[in-house]
Point group: C2
């Protein structure tokens, strides 16, 4: 069907997904793979562990969708009803598959668990179904066709479902998707507001109506997403053209074209430039250190730092002069700079990065409101700072302050590189 | 209907909720309120901004549910189709409500925004509907009845939806729920595995079949949840009895009965005991400091600390003797203790807490595998440590190491208190 996407729907089975505590997140991963294969998801449902409800949904899905993915409820317990309910909805037999039963016996023996009669239910296969191997768990998947509709049953645990989507469902779905697929490109931008980004690139992207362009403010950066559905025989040059023109318009404000996190990009820049980093964190109290060290191998450039939550530690460990704290207060440009230089000297790193601010809810004043944050940076030749007044509650202000510090460091290294320094 | 829960369903409208990037989370909050009012959610759906799809779902919902909450798609743009689609599904008129239009005009004027013709659509009301005030945004909610089924339309933004559920939907739903409601009690337990908890309390909870008891391993603790559906005229003594007996069986292994976080509980204990805390974090690199300072007012007991990611910082700032690092390695009981005592002395705090470990993916060896973590604690009179081998990937190991450190501190303070020390 050129020019038209096949309609997919996702059914998540599990009573725990109908409580206030649990969300269905499997469908995000399933959607990503289905989109890759040219299927658009038009409906998602969550249903409890009840045969009648599952069967009713499956019957409805057959009338409105080309592709139905059902996940969860393939375990061995009384609560796991998906196989039986789907068989019932299709009017097909459910019977134990001998080779599968044997595989399960081998698997249990290898793991040293006793196989109980109840586990034999996982060897039950719906008449006419193809078995999809589960390399991680004991519940195999099933693939069925009914009146031109594809139906896939997958286990609920994400670590089992994810490789099965990738290895079994995606390759088969790609063949069915008539060659249509979603072409994507994304950018993340620092140092501009959403509307600044929009006013710069709207004159460009409006020339490409065949590409769906979205600008979205995220915490710490602005994301730009380009989407284009295309058949195998269609030109996808439009999205590449558009991406190239956006890159030229925004330059180094774009910190990644591959959805890398800011800490990943900054880490790469530190490594390339042979710098080492230490942090002095007051209001963020570890959030920046924690983010930087998410990246494996960050010990190559990150030395550590000081959590200078109290003024005494600012003085004692970061060497901020007591009179500076008295005169300007802990949340000031002067103290931010002193902290950055202080932690650089205390740790022997080439770069020191600091944050001091008022995260709230208390502690604000008319001159220094909640959300006021100073970021400091010392690189051995100079010490600089940046002032921000960040919106949000305590958690958001701290998160934004961390991003503001990493952004400041990113821009500093890029500017040095552009100026021909390391 | 005594002994029977009324069936509710939730429909979330929005094409962005059908992408790989966005999950419906409004339904969690809606479910919580509906449960409070005696409605069990039996189905949730997510549908795109398409009139036909929305209308089809609404018609199906009328056949299977007593209560239908539809959220999203009440905005002013072309994409916002919920009002129109629901009116169509019910065969009712949609017309501009004069008082509501006037309210909108006032609201726009007060905010200083121009009111465009498109905004007038938000004053459209479905025939027979009651208008639910939106105190935060411009899209009012609507409440309808059709053949004994209650239908509620709410705006999608959580900050608008949340107070409307609380102030408008919950009070009305409570009246309809025939007095049935969900009684809950939860506990969080430290220092035991899921199966240890189960073997201790199974002999108790199996005596209360009317209460639904769930034990769930969470990151850093084991959660126990008790649920009981009850009518106004029914005894809920069972859940109270059971809760009381579980408390006696588990004692101080329970760190909260009110879903407080571990950092909140530890903070309260530090404050009560007049202690101050500093941390020395190696593999967690700020995660513990960040968690403790999530709590407003934590500066009363948290001084700060040292991110001793490199060995040089362990020596230089935490005073760990170089020969200790050489002899035992950075990940050792000896270094964990030296870090805890070192950070205590360097910061002048009464308690020092440290973590050193191998978060992976690299750096492991047969003697010291990835996941090996030592936690150290110094309180001025003694220095102790605890060894753990934590499962999971880098992110999980770091998170679990942070919880292990906070758990160690919690247990230390509780033990001191039980021994009659401050």
């Amino acid at each position: 069907m050129p020019g038209h996407n096949m309609r997919a729907e996702i059914i998540a089975v599990g009573s725990e997904l109908l409580t206030p505590d649990h969300c269905d997140t499997n469908s995000l991963l399933i959607t990503e793979r289905l989109n890759q294969a040219g299927f658009a998801v038009h409906l998602k449902s969550v249903v409890g562990d009840r045969s009648d409800d599952i069967a009713a949904l499956v019957r409805a899905a057959l009338r409105r969708s080309d592709f139905v993915v059902i996940c969860g409820g393939l375990g061995p317990t009384e609560d796991d009803l998906t196989r039986r309910a789907v068989a019932g909805a299709l009017g097909r037999q459910l019977s134990v598959n001998a080779p599968l039963l044997e595989q399960l016996r081998v698997l249990f023996a290898r793991r040293g668990y006793p196989m109980r009669p109840i586990n034999e239910r996982q060897a039950e296969v719906i008449e006419g179904a193809e078995v999809l191997e589960n390399a991680v768990g004991t519940a195999p998947g099933l693939w069925l066709q009914e009146g031109g509709v594809q139906i896939v049953l997958l286990p609920g645990p994400p670590r089992e479902l994810s490789p099965m989507m990738e290895n079994h469902v995606l390759p088969r779905a790609l063949k069915l998707g008539a060659g249509r697929h979603l072409v994507k490109q994304s950018f993340r931008v620092l140092g501009m507001t959403e509307s600044e980004v929009d006013s710069r690139i709207a004159p460009i992207y409006t020339q490409y109506p065949q590409v769906d362009t979205t600008i979205l403010a995220s915490r710490g950066y602005i994301g730009i997403r380009l989407h284009q559905w295309a058949g195998a025989w269609e030109q996808t040059g439009a999205i590449e053209d558009l991406a190239c023109r956006i890159e030229r318009a925004l330059g180094s404000a774009i910190f990644t074209r591959t959805d890398d996190s800011l800490e990943e990009v900054v880490g790469r820049l530190l490594r390339q430039s042979g710098r080492t980093l230490a942090v002095a964190e007051s209001c963020t109290a570890g959030m920046i250190g924690c983010a930087i060290t998410r990246i494996p191998g960050s010990s190559d450039y990150f030395l550590g730092g000081i959590l200078c939550y109290s003024d005494d530690i600012k003085e004692r460990l970061c060497g901020v002069p007591g009179n500076l704290l008295c005169k300007h207060g802990a949340v000031s440009a002067e103290v931010a700079e002193a902290l950055a230089e202080g932690v650089r000297l205390a740790t022997g790193s080439s770069t020191g990065l600091s944050v001091t601010g008022i995260a709230g809810p208390g502690g604000g004043s008319p001159e220094k409101p909640v959300g006021l944050v100073y970021v400091g940076l010392a690189d051995g030749s100079r010490v600089v700072n940046r002032r921000r007044v960040l919106p949000g509650d305590r958690a958001l202000i701290r998160e934004r302050a961390s991003y503001a510090a990493l952004a400041f460091l990113y821009q500093h290294i890029i500017a040095a590189r552009n100026a021909g320094q390391p």
